[in-house]
Subunit: 574 residues, 2 copies
């Protein structure tokens, strides 16, 4: 059973990322290392003891739609109440509206642990946090006052309503309409699909954030506005009153995350209110979405951690054949190929975690740093690391869960074992909130070029500094040498991307993103090795460098092939 | 819906592998290209039209144990009857006992198509074929006469009973007992798990091949014998008579292949007969197992082909956003990253298919070649290619099915779409019949060193010849150059493996196997390009070389790291 990896989480925050520095800022001066450790420790305890035991129940029972009401797996309501009572939904929300005012970094650590414990349930706070941030940034004071406290307390939950059958990755194609009612509200009409936690019996109201088009709005993404559409309209006391004209039509049958209701929603002239400006819905949506992309990357990390622990526990107990070390009677973890899989799982999980926490840290600095210049630079770094966090975190979740099944041998394919569920559950994370291909295109098309490559070069310079420090240590010299060479390769890849045409960039985007993640991963594992001097951390960094950095030249090659080779075979000949 | 890829299958046989040469041998002189094409065409038609439509039914209904009888998904019985009537169970069995006497190569093509259509159902003929080969090689004439015709006709099916709860990869740990009854038969007592198609309503008898220990047998694999244990004892007419003392205790709940009953079996003094010599059961088992490993590799290829077709069909129809080519209104297949996934799926599938067919071809030559020397060399080449076929074929199945889900975006996670099932089903193929880690160890520990590397070097020399031919063509020169360099890297890796200590080999085995598969894959795709001059085949070989061969140096590095780095972190610190 999952045990919250508190030591790894804190080492990542302190030594890989340096997030303790946040306590020195005015904004986060209450986030002292002691406070952070206490918060994470308590959240970890609930995740391990209360939520993780529900994970298999979530898979077996699933969410069900009964007479228009979404019923949840046994125990979900009680577990969700503990999440809410812990203050974890509004963990980084403003104190003014009932949040804890903690850094996003700390919230991210909690989100990771929730995701390890139960991916289905972790989606409730994650989506509410997206709605909270959208309302904090774009809502009117009245909207904030009426909705934020209940969202932060977890009494209500938030959703993102983007997708329609013909508008998935192409959000601009959506057709849901918003007609002014003449009283400041709008009548929202249309169908939405894949609405995560679109309804449930765990909360007393649902705050839908819905993308729709105003009459006469321009085509495409420039004609989309964001609306707040509650399940129940609020009465004079701000409590849920009259049911709104919306409903859950059906739930999808999915490969995994069965406990998370994925709703087909119908809005039938439902009453909603504009959030932000007319036709600026995409900007509001990206506020939610960037938040959610970080959180989804952490879902991948959380699934990876849980799958790793699960496989490690099996590999330490299962005995098969003579082992090549010790007295030969050890468990299968002593077989070279099993040990290789375990180390690979551990190293990948730690690298993905560090990238995600570093992303969160820069989003915090973007709020809390002293100067506008520092805040701007941090904001760009956070934005740059967001697609890497999302894609590499979720790819890692899938890869580690897959290795976890393999470590179990035949038992891995038997559902009772639990290993298969991690893969079935985490598989969606590489798709939702923008597929990993979309993330890679966001990286090379927007995040990389928005400042002419300055942020990317700054990131690589930080890594080069770590390489130099590693090179200076007797035990870490080889890691440093390999990393220094990899940074140069990453610089070449970055230069190539900055000079390439749009579709050439897109053709190599996935490889380029992975290249940065592998180089970045060495940096974080190396920093932990340097800071702690812990032999196990030095060896993990060495293992990572030996097994992952050799892939970097191949990724440069794949990143810089260009697009033309992809179109030489006509589509009809595929 | 799956369409049998007849053109690709025939091109692979003829141009990548050169299997038409078999018709020149005495043994296979009836396997003329026309006959082969007709057989494969008919099998492909049944797979596409009759079996593939059952694949989702198989997943939804699954096999069920009702009052001791295994009930099958709707339509399975009728579909299986068509497989049997086509002669495909006994396709490569001896004509003397009712088989078609066709090459294993042709049977492999049929097995691949069956696997594309329905992985669950494909297991019946695959396991029967293993039993047939074991009886042909090791059975007494009486055993052959009584059991082979019914197995070949498909009236009965065969199973492999190896695994016990504490004896999985370590077969030598098994505890099932065989006590002589004094009349030439034995009483078999013990429990077996993961017995694929251990019972069903589709057949009138089940021929269990069961590994067990004789009284006083040596410990480990040297004390294991193989027994034939029918579900029903045969009466004087050779028809199923008295029920034997064995039963299905339960069926496992699995991640996939729900239509395939995976049985927990209890043998309670069941009557069985020795196959082969006492305590030589492992040799007999490996006869079954090598056959099954080729077939399982082809399950991976089949799943990959089906998942590719499924994703391609979606990507050709689904429209999202402006595309970067043509008039910009194309389907998502025109987006660079989607096109990259499709090409990657296609190329990997073709490479894995060619390796598997080449493995089968050498197993055929091992029977049919003119001289003992040629037969011996072919036998070793077939044995060498078997673990590569199994591991790379099934890794390809998983990777392509995973890309298939990704190509579908959110639809890929919805079970109704069917993309998820391919991944859930194919996931087991990397585990059963020896995990892919075991395959890699078999390659470096046995197949590579049995002749001091002679077979490996011969394989690489064949590839080097293809490289030279590619280098000589204007359009294929770059592919040839890349392949020539990759062959040298493969030679270095092979030399390293031959000189390394056992556990150092094991530590790098998975990487080494993949390295050989990537280099081999280029050889086959290159041969098709050279032989046909088809621009699409030249481009596919070029795409493969550009995207896969850059991984070869990384794989050399990973293959030759040695084992010691894996054990630097103590197990308790993981």
């Amino acid at each position: 059973m999952y045990q919250a990896p508190l030591a790894d989480v804190l080492t990542t925050l302190t030594h890989m990322v340096g997030a303790d520095a946040l306590a020195q800022t005015d904004l986060y001066n209450e986030a002292s290392p002691d406070t952070v450790e206490a918060l994470i420790g308590e959240a970890g305890r609930v995740c391990s003891e209360v939520i993780a035991p529900l994970n298999r129940v979530s898979d077996l029972e699933g969410a069900r739609l009964e007479n228009g009401v979404v019923r949840l797996p046994s125990g979900f309501k009680g577990a969700y109440d503990q999440i809410a009572e812990g203050g974890w939904v509004g963990m980084s929300g403003s104190v003014e509206h009932g949040g804890l005012g903690m850094p996003i970094t700390v919230m991210s650590a909690v989100n990771e642990m929730l995701s390890s414990a139960c991916l289905s349930l972790s989606l409730v706070p994650i989506l509410s946090q997206g709605a909270i941030e959208a309302l904090e940034k774009h809502g009117t004071p009245e909207q904030q006052e009426r909705y934020l406290p209940k969202l932060m307390s977890g009494e209500w939950n938030g959703t993102m309503n983007l997708t329609e059958p013909n508008a998935g990755s192409d959000v601009g194609a959506l057709r849901t309409r918003a007609e002014p009612n003449g009283d400041g509200s709008y009548a929202i009409t249309g169908g939405k699909i894949w609405i995560t936690w679109g309804d449930s019996e765990a909360v007393s109201n649902v705050v839908h954030l819905v993308l729709a088009r105003l009459p006469g709005a321009p085509e495409g993404t420039r004609g989309i506005s964001l609306f707040l559409v509650p399940k129940y309209l609020l009465d004079a006391n701000g409590e849920p009153g009259t049911p709104n004209a919306l409903k859950v039509v059906s739930l999808d049958h999915k490969m995994g995350i069965h406990g998370s209701p994925t709703c087909v929603m119908a809005y039938e002239g439902a009453t909603g209110w504009l959030i932000g400006e007319e036709n600026k819905g995409m900007a509001c949506m990206f506020t939610m979405m960037n938040n959610a992309r970080l959180a989804v990357g952490l879902q991948g990390v959380g699934a990876a951690e849980a799958a790793y622990q699960h496989a490690l526990s099996f590999a330490k107990e299962r005995v098969q054949g003579r082992t090549p070390v010790g007295d030969g009677n050890g468990p299968i973890a002593d077989h070279a190929d099993v040990r290789r899989m375990l180390l690979s799982m551990k190293a990948q999980t730690q690298a993905a975690r560090a990238i995600a926490y570093d992303c969160a840290y820069h989003l915090d600095l973007a709020r809390a740093a002293n100067t506008a210049e520092e805040r701007e630079a941090a904001s760009r770094m956070g934005a740059f690391l967001t697609p890497i966090t999302k894609a590499f975190g979720t790819d890692t979740g899938i890869e580690v869960a897959n290795l976890g099944i393999q470590t179990h041998g035949g038992m891995g394919f038997i559902e009772e074992t639990g290993a298969a569920q991690y893969l079935r559950d985490v598989r969606i994370t590489a798709i939702y909130e923008g597929t990993n291909g979309i993330q890679a295109m966001d990286l090379v098309g927007r995040k990389l070029s928005v400042d002419g490559g300055e942020t990317a070069r700054a990131y690589l310079s930080r890594i080069a500094q770590t390489a130099a420090r590693l090179q200076a240590g007797a035990q870490t010299q080889a890691i440093g040498n390999a990393l220094a060479a990899a940074v140069e390769t990453a610089r070449s890849a970055t230069d190539w991307m900055l000079n390439a045409a749009g579709n050439d960039r897109n053709a190599g985007a996935v490889a380029y993103l992975r290249l940065l993640a592998l180089v970045g991963g060495t940096h974080y594992l190396g920093r932990a090795a340097l800071a702690t001097g812990d032999p196990a951390r030095i060896e993990l960094a060495r293992f990572w460098a030996e097994t992952q950095l050799p892939n970097v030249p191949a990724l440069l090659s794949q990143a810089s092939n260009g697009a033309s080779g992809l179109y030489q075979i006509p589509l009809e000949a595929l």
